[in-house]
């Protein structure tokens, strides 16, 4: 009849210390390719609207006339990457959430 067999696990946990890191003092470096947010290089965008057509969550709206506008609703995005794959000019990318935003033109 084996009792208290959890104690070995408890002792080894006490010895090895906590597995959690003390964020935000020591944040973990993100893995390359982590999908956190969508960024666009506006200089390359031709406002074709391909990304808006492929988005499953209707997060993107692109208008050409009368003004060229690329609108992104971040809370609707599901980070699937369909827009990134289908953009003909490759101006979209999914980067880590804490990566700096590319500097806005103008």
């Amino acid at each position: 009849m084996r009792l208290f067999s959890i104690f070995k696990d408890i002792l080894s946990s006490l010895v090895q210390g906590p597995v959690t890191r003390d964020y935000p003092a020591h944040p973990r470096a993100p893995f390359p390719g982590t999908r956190g947010k969508l960024v666009i290089d506006e200089t390359k965008c031709i406002y074709c609207g391909m990304c808006a057509r492929k988005c499953p969550a209707h997060a993107l709206t692109v208008t050409r006339k009368p003004d060229q506008e690329w609108r992104f609703e971040r809370f609707r995005c599901i980070l699937c990457g369909a827009c990134v794959e289908n953009c003909p000019k490759k101006c979209l990318a999914l980067v880590d959430r804490n990566a700096p935003d590319p500097a806005a033109p103008k």
């Binding site: 009792l3 408890i10 080894s12 999908r35 492929k54 499953p56 599901i78 699937c80 369909a82």
Partner: protein
Amino acid sequence: MSMLVPFGPQHPVLPEPLQLRLELSDEKVISALPVIGYVHRGLERLAEQKDFIQDTYLIERVCGICSFIHSMTYCMGIEEMMNIAVPPRALYLRTVWSELHRMHSHLLALGLLADAFGFENLFYSLWRIREEIMDAMEATTGGRVMLGSCCIGGVRKDIDPAQAQFVLEKLANVERALKRPAEVLIGDYTVKQRLVGVGVIDGKKAYELGAVGPTLRGSGVLRDHRTTGYAAYGELDFEPVVEQDGDCYARTLVRIGELRQSIALVRQALGKLPDSELKTPFKGNPEGEVAVRAEQPRGEVLYYLRGNGTDKLERLRIRTPTFANIAPLLTMLVGCNLADVAVIILSIDPCISCTER
């Protein structure tokens, strides 16, 4: 004199809302009536309004625990309808991610089962191991839960040798860290008192009631859809895990056995990754009807797809394993004590978001 006690939908032990109306006499359950519908999203109907490529991203989100296998089964269905051959490397990568999902799902289920009988220390020990697998998934695909890496015709991302090495290191950590919690779960006297002989269902009854997955394999009936050889399972060797007793303890042993087997399967698959392209391009729209099945951590999942030549599917039907396991659950609950109800429900590993889609 019988008493009606509603178990759920808000219960500290349940991961998802499920209500069971229990009719009790003293402490014994006489009958149970399931009431579901708290997380019904109508995904099957929504899938008819998006085109079949966008549906890949929608189907992933049916469930968070088995999400990759949902999208893989959907892609297998569309590929069968449109006669697309998947390249070998993609088949192996799909197997790797499916098995990673199976591991993290079983660890989740075992942790919640430990929580059901109050053993929170064991619950946290098991979920601590799960973090290694989540890191492995994030490093290879960019997402911890929603991988987004399966697409029609193959996979979208590759695992390069450095990432494969990282995954193998994580697996070694998992194997080492699993030893002590598994010993506790299998051998400790107090755990066995709560699990052995509780929620017994015999193999024939389970089969007739439509049970699938560890619920069926824990009762002595060998049905594991992976033995049919879809994805790369035909080229990897593994033995399905079967136990005979049909109680919660047997189902726990099945899950621990499958965990160890999944570690071996991922190592085999990463060792044998062939070189080929990642996806086959295709044109056209799906037409016809097809029914495909795969083995999720909780059992067999069935996808029925019907296309009519347009880019939107006419019907998408998903029958998830927990849906099939509800009927055996009602039989298992008859005659048990009220304190065992939580343990029995969690031993079938309920995933209600899958059940109600």
